[in-house]
């Protein structure tokens, strides 16, 4: 019987079984940011423990950086204190820091792949739940808590229980105007927000074979929204092609050896999965959320559910709570709901391909006068290339604000926040109550092009209609 990538990576990184029955797993690559690392460094300092392998930890700053203010000190002294603390910790412990002045700063899950730090067959941990993003490269990547950040800093290992593996096949062809974001929203809606508890999701099938690395990252990114701590795609030529020539990718003869090694980690054809789910690409339409978790989603031409449609008491209560928060009436169409803010960015959809795809359709269009639209490149690298390509100009001409790199309005730790009960069409990954900075703020998750469509029309719209994306003629 063959082995899955998860099993192979797990075996290669297992140090020993701990007295408590958990596995001590070597974490090859550790990524840190300003929010979840300072307390961990504090604990090391308190105990006088050094960082075990400083060269395998990489830092960036993303959550708190203002995207509309470059000069320090920042107007928010708490934000300033956090970046200063990270700088100090990296310097003291010899950790590489992609600081704001390096041209390489950005959202941690965008910087890792961009720099070629994220590699197949490796284990990665980061004090951030969207670490699953890195699984797109065939890495086993865990989001961890701060105490585990401490463990990884101190020992380059952590204590874990093995996961089961669920293979999710998406076969067939996605219709025009249907994106990776729709695929993952559909998967979460189908399997539930906690359907993945205890599982690693292995994504495969024709759709993933044809996806670019950036599309694979969008899907893996939101694995955690489906309850799966780990999500991955087996490495293939697309993966190697993406990594080649990146700053931290192996070079010269090391490259060939690395590719050979990477290939050996891919799941064997005859491996036994704990569960297999098959999804047809043709069944997926542009998807938007209507509620307060990412599983509460419908296709753009569907209605938001009525409370009575819940199958259990608790589901009915969840629907009622979501409808109340969103100020939606059950049974009404989601299309046509007024939006106040359009946010394009985040580690889900703040990459170059996202901005390029939108720019192609946005050219010559104008943001609706009632909408504040902001475009936030996920990294300084993304923003530099976008600017070289003139993409920034297309956004600005359309009436989007073009910002500096960071998490921005994905969460409320920087100046970009919703106000009152504003409704935001967002390319990010979470629509929890209060997530975007206002307790009564409302978030509707969707693909980047759907965000652009909402920005242009001032309401939740079908991007295929707004931008004239036609179904291919049926043969």
């Amino acid at each position: 019987m063959g082995k899955s990538l998860f099993q192979k990576v797990w075996d290669a990184h297992s140090v020993r079984q701990l007295p408590n029955g958990q596995t001590q797993l070597l974490i090859g690559t550790h990524l840190i940011h300003e929010v979840t690392s300072p307390q961990a460094f504090g604990m090391l300092r308190e105990k006088g423990i050094p960082v075990k392998y400083p060269h395998r930890t990489f830092a960036t700053v993303d959550h708190i950086v203002p995207t509309n203010e470059l000069a320090e000190p920042y107007s928010d002294p708490l934000a300033q204190a956090m970046i200063t603390e990270l700088r100090k910790n990296c310097e003291e412990y010899g950790v590489k820091f992609f600081d704001t002045t390096t041209g390489m700063q950005g959202i941690v899950h965008i910087v890792g792949p961009e720099q070629g730090i994220t590699q197949p067959g490796t284990t990665i941990a980061c004090g951030d739940s969207h670490t699953s993003t890195h699984g797109a490269f065939g890495a086993v990547a865990f989001g961890i808590g701060t105490s585990q950040v401490r463990d990884v800093l101190a020992t380059q290992t952590m204590a874990l229980n093995p996961l089961k593996v669920r293979r999710i096949n998406v076969d067939g062809k996605l219709a025009p105007g249907v994106y990776a974001k729709d695929v993952i929203l559909h998967i979460i809606r189908t399997l539930g927000v906690n359907g993945g508890t205890g599982f690693a999701y292995e994504y495969g099938g024709e759709v993933f074979d044809n996806f670019t690395m950036e599309e694979r990252m969008t899907v893996c990114n939101m694995s955690i929204e489906g309850g799966a701590r780990v999500g991955y795609v087996n490495p293939d030529e697309t993966t190697f092609e993406y990594l080649k020539g990146r700053p931290y990718a192996p070079k010269g003869k090391d490259w060939d050896a690395a590719v050979e090694r990477w290939q050996s980690f891919a799941s064997d054809a005859d491996c036994d999965y704990d569960d297999v789910v098959n999804i047809r690409a043709e069944d997926i339409a542009p998807t938007v959320t209507w509620g307060i978790n990412p599983g509460q989603a419908v296709f753009i031409d569907q209605s938001v559910p009525k409370k009575e449609e819940g199958k259990t008491v608790s589901e009915r209560a969840s629907i009622a709570e979501a409808l109340e928060h969103m100020q939606f009436e059950g049974g009404t169409a989601i299309k046509g709901v007024k939006v106040n803010v359009a946010f394009l960015g985040s580690c889900t959809n703040g990459r170059l391909s996202d901005l390029r795809e939108v720019a192609q359709y946005l050219k010559g269009r104008k943001v609706h006068p009632d909408v504040q639209a902001i475009c936030v490149p996920g990294s300084q690298g993304v923003s530099r290339i976008a600017e070289e390509m003139g993409i920034d100009q297309i956004f600005k001409d359309a009436g989007f604000e073009w910002r500096g790199a960071g998490c921005s309005m994905c969460l409320a730790m920087n100046p970009d926040k919703l106000v009152g009960d504003q409704l935001c069409a967002s390319s990010s990954n979470r629509n929890f109550k209060g997530r975007q900075g206002s307790i009564t703020g409302r978030t509707v998750l969707m693909s980047p092009l759907m965000v652009a469509a909402a920005a242009v029309t001032g309401e939740i719209s079908d991007a295929r209609e707004v931008f004239g994306i036609l179904e291919p003629a049926t043969v």
Partner: protein, 201 residues
Amino acid sequence: MSLKEISKVTGRAVHVPGDDIDTDRIIPARFMKCVTFDGLGEYMFYDVRKDADGNDRKHPLNDPSYEGASILISGNNFGCGSSREHAPQAIYRAGFRGVIAEGFAEIFFGNSTQLGMPCVTAEGKDIEKLVAAIEADPSTEVTIDLEAKKIRFGIAAIDCEIREGARSVLLNGHWDPLQDLLASEEQVEAVAGSLAYMAEK
């Protein structure tokens, strides 16, 4: 070095109803602008407890009859969302030492165990009984008995579950794994040495 062995958590309990209570709800991101966890307890469930003007809303966590409770009870998929350890830290620092729910999100569960705060699951209908008892008398003493996998309150008891690995680390005082992880340095170096990318700088 062993830590405290945790076999029982006893105290009064408070119910925060609802499924899928996410970590943004437990500790809103704006309170995570801090470089230590001290003081987080004050902001636990802040937006649930306070209205936009900072006044107390009607909520069990604001109800003086539950003041001093050390066991939190909730619904399914508790602690989903962000991996922020700030969430269990906030709950812990607000004085809680155990959580009972129908189910827990993975990362939250792990983070809590590592703090020595047991998270046990119980059946919805059993939780209803427990909640009815504490609502009838908020001074009811509740005990999470990890050894027997029972939750006792008054003369009643319900079954609870906890993943065996977590249960054993709590029972034997190994819930914070750092010492164990540090103890195998040579083996760690051997595994690191076998992986080519570990040498990359």
